[in-house]
Amino acid sequence: MFRPWSHIQWFAMGAGVLALILLPSFVENDEIRKWMDILMVAILAVSWNFIGGLTGYPSFASAAFFGLGAYTTAILMNAGFNFFITLGIGACLGALVALALGVPILRLRGHYFAIATFGVAEFFRELADNLRITGGGDGINLPQITGGPDYFTRFFYFSMLGVAVLAILTQYFVTRHRLGYGLVAIRENEDAAAMTGVDTTKYKIIAFVLSSIFPAMGGGVYAYRAAFLEPIDVFDVLFSIKAIVMSMLGGVGTVMGPLVGALMMEYLSDYLWGAFTEFHSAFLGIIIVLVVLFIPRGLMAVSQEVKSRGWVSLGVILKSNIQRFRV
């Protein structure tokens, strides 16, 4: 099901990355900042795909690891560590926490798993609200980055881009590896997967760990950029929701889907209702409802069907989507 990319696909990927690398040379800082946000959400979406898309375990823990990484960077940079070292430590810490939590949590299925991951994120938030080391509810300041706005906008942009490329490449290699097939087997039928020799526990934990590393790093970049953290900002369940919805919009369980979803959503939302920042979450809600009802398998799947049946049948495709699961 996952064919290796052809030369053309690799070329397109390379061209995309090159375009993103060259982007800051051509556009204003505002535009760079917008793309930085897109990349951040893309990191979350792609990472969620490991556990939610490939393995079929609907995790709400993205926000937990994002916040964990953010606070790790904040605390360590205040202690005088180099920024990039704190990213690495944040990633390791995220992986360790995912490992420790994964063992009990991944035994759960369905809603119980969703609730447990939600509980983990909320628990972290409560903890950050009350511990002294995190500054509690008052928040925590980070060292300010030196240099002009041109410099630091690019610095954060390229940091984000680095993490995003890392996440996507990891995703690519996982899906073409035994691991990826094992994860999909677990999603389709966990008992059958176990029967055919997939070490389901091990595979699920690896997927959960992978889904924790990149949000932790992204959180670190976010923290340094924001220069100030509050528990409610970074342990926000909306980060988890966005990750899920963007994966769904693009296509759950595909490599490029989450990326496409993140791109579409952030860019479109900026144009369509950039002026109504107050109602951002309301529009997000409407999008969620529409995506779930009409394109539950993602834009990639719809575009493939359109390709084979023509644009005329778009209405039929959307209608068949909404009728598939009704009572």
Binding site: G56, P104, I105, I115, V289, L293, P296, I322, F325, V327
Partner: protein, 288 residues
């Protein structure tokens, strides 16, 4: 004496917690939907009571039926018009769908009602009943009694009416229920409506003894998560036990660890129970 007072407070809190979780447990059990809208219906119900008191001076306990009926209708429409379309999809879809609706409704509520915390303050708000040297707030005990009463009525309804039995049949075996002539789409909508009405009544009760705001819906939602997970799905005793355990744990936790960590205790409890016995302490097998 302090312990006795905390015990009383915990039981009173536990009663209202149980009431909050009942509708959530019902929807989850019957349709396998993790209803993120639950806290939202609760919040809206609380606002119905609040505005009726504020604008027309209606006693909060008298506006309960209004809040219940209006949210029943809202829930019925939501289920019939939206959730029924995808209810057979992987369970995760309905979760995300209700999340989308929650984002929309909460945002609108903040716009119309502002994000302030509101509380209904009837003239008897400050009364308390002395009982063997302890003081029991009048409002809290009324909420407790009403909450338990309404929960009992709901469970009587489930066991002894035609609709209630149809709901239970649907939960046990969807296909057989359909073969027996149960209109699944309608039963689902009614179930969701009942869940919303239960949430709304508990919201009305909460708006009297506590405070509500559009953003407090997530707090009540996560309480419902915790209570249902601790107690287990499928029976009234589960919700009651879960509510009481959470009430006790929060109050005594606040005593020993400080009030800041009060909410964190619930999550620790949640994860512990999931670790030890995922189907809940009183959950029955097959009702997950």
């Amino acid at each position: 004496m302090v312990y006795a007072q905390i015990l009383i407070n915990s039981i009173l809190l536990g009663g209202i917690y149980a009431c909050i979780a009942v509708g959530f447990s019902l929807v989850w059990g019957v349709m396998n939907i993790l209803n993120i809208m639950h806290g939202t219906f609760l919040m809206l119900g609380g606002y119905v009571t609040f505005w009726m008191f504020k604008l027309y001076g209606v006693d909060p306990f008298l506006s309960l039926p209004v809040s219940a009926v209006s949210m029943f209708c809202a829930g019925y429409v939501v289920q019939r018009g939206l959730i029924n379309k995808i209810v057979r999809a992987p369970m995760f879809m309905s979760l995300i769908l209700t999340f989308g609706l929650q984002l929309l409704v909460v945002r609108l509520a903040i716009y119309f009602f502002t994000g302030d915390f509101r509380s209904v303050q009837p003239s008897y708000a400050g009364f308390s009943i002395p009982f063997m040297g302890l003081s029991i707030p009048f409002v809290r005990i009324s909420i407790f009694v009403l909450g338990v009463l309404l929960t009992s009525i709901l469970f009587w309804f489930m066991g002894h009416t035609r609709t209630g039995r149809a709901i239970r049949a649907t939960r046990m075996d969807l296909d057989s229920a359909q073969l027996m002539g149960v209109d699944i789409g309608r039963i689902y909508a009614i179930t969701y409506g009942i869940g919303a009405a239960a949430a709304a009544t508990s919201g009305s009760l909460v708006s009297v003894g506590f405070a509500i705001s559009p953003v407090s819906d997530v707090e009540f939602l996560s309480k419902s998560f915790i209570i249902c997970t601790i107690g287990g799905l499928g029976n009234i005793t589960g919700a009651l036990a879960g509510g009481l355990i959470l009430g006790l744990a929060e109050n005594f936790g606040a005593l020993y660890l400080g009030p800041g960590l009060q909410n964190a205790i619930g999550y620790v409890l949640l994860i512990l129970v999931l670790f030890i016995k995922p189907s809940g302490l009183l959950g029955r097998k097959g009702f997950e």
